[in-house]
């Protein structure tokens, strides 16, 4: 298979684009897709400092690499979930990446904020592990960015992540979740920083290939709690569709963003308040994170 641009041996075939690229031209393609996402959704400027949430996985480290290489001002944020050796290894990957590029890495320990590491939170609350983990991450990312004065958090969510989330929301007609699904969420409250997903135009295969070709040492092992997660099941369904009809995931997500999302956005009308316990933004009196932390405290003491 030959590179579409130069005719050299291809490193990766992109069936949804009916194309193949050699290593240098794939890296160029990847960076252009990120630049297009940043530009189209006005994600951030070169004057702003961007907090990149990193997990040690391929997506977030690939994102950080692209932004650094493109000259953006960045810092990393690693959330230590306390998930056995998985967290130790993923933290080490993030620290090594940051050190090799002379970047600052902030580290937040979930156990300090919630009162226990994620495995104990799961046992104490009996709620799905990924649910407690996702809630904690969203809360701590926003809090850390506010504390350090960064106006925007960038995450490594890719096209597959976004298509799977949309698929889950549509399967259950979660109309409150649909308007919030966007590559860029604006700050709608002084205590909410912007959240952006510059990799939303790129598939999981593409982010993995980019990380490999750039020599990024990322954690290949999956989180031990991800096995059996609903989002994985949704991805598997979409992968089979994609195999039969390349471009299906892209069409599903981009069609939603262009044609359907505005309709759901119009009906969303939420009043934002400040949590009476921690001061972070919520729609009720006490935020979901404080409720979780309280539940953990009561059941582990």
């Amino acid at each position: 298979m030959k590179c579409r641009k130069c005719g050299d041996t291809a490193a990766l075939e992109l069936r949804r684009h009916n194309a193949a690229f050699c290593s240098p031209h794939f890296l160029e393609f990847f960076r252009k897709q990120v630049a297009e996402a940043v530009h189209r959704h006005h994600m951030f400027t070169r004057e702003e400092k961007i907090m990149v949430a990193v997990s040690g996985g391929k997506d977030s480290l690939a994102l950080w690499d692209v932004l650094i290489e493109d000259g953006y001002q960045t810092v990393g944020l690693y959330l230590d979930l306390g998930i056995f050796d998985y967290s130790k290894e993923s933290k080490a990957k993030c620290e090594a990446f940051a050190a090799s590029r002379g970047q600052t890495l902030h580290i937040e320990r979930v156990a300090e904020a919630v009162g226990a590491p994620i495995p104990v939170v799961q046992q104490a609350t009996r709620r799905p592990t990924c649910s407690a983990c996702g809630l904690s991450k969203r809360y701590l990312m926003n809090r850390a960015a506010l504390q350090h004065g960064y106006p925007v958090v960038a995450t490594g969510h890719n096209l597959d992540d976004e298509a799977a989330t949309l698929f889950g929301s549509v399967m259950h007609w979660q109309t409150d979740a649909l308007p919030r699904q966007s590559p860029a969420l604006a700050s709608t409250h002084p205590k909410l920083v912007r959240r952006v997903k510059p990799l939303y135009r790129l598939s999981e295969l593409e982010t993995a290939a980019f990380a490999f070709l750039r020599g990024i040492d990322y954690i290949v092992e999956e989180c031990p709690f991800a096995k059996g997660a609903t989002s994985i099941a949704h991805k598997e369904v979409l992968n089979r569709l994609e195999e039969a009809s390349p471009g299906s995931k892209h069409n599903f997500l981009f069609g939603f963003l262009e044609k359907a999302r505005p309709a759901f956005e119009r009906v969303e009308n939420v009043t934002l308040l400040e949590c009476t316990s921690c001061g972070q933004v919520t729609t009720g009196a006490i935020c979901a994170f404080c409720k979780l932390a309280d539940q953990v405290k009561r059941r582990t003491s």
Binding site: L12, E13, T129, C130, N158, S203, E204, L205, V220, A229
Partner: protein, 69 residues
């Protein structure tokens, strides 16, 4: 040829020369869900492999809580 699978890690031997896409089909793996790595290069589905080749078949799927990825 030796094939290294990940998550969980496993090594298998496959005889004969064939294309990467045929190896993946034999292993019942969708091509879009893995990188196929030989040394420091990525291989596309039409690449012929065999003999002394050592291939790593590295899954690309991540998932779970929807955090930083």
């Amino acid at each position: 040829m030796k094939i290294i699978l990940r998550n969980p890690r496993k090594e298998i031997e496959v005889d004969g020369r064939r294309r990467v896409k045929e190896v993946l089909a034999q292993l019942e793996i969708l091509p879009s869900t893995v990188l196929v790595i030989r040394g420091n290069e990525l291989l596309t589905g039409d690449t012929m492999v065999g003999g002394d080749d050592v291939l790593e078949v590295r899954p690309v799927m991540s998932g779970g809580s929807g955090g930083p990825r």
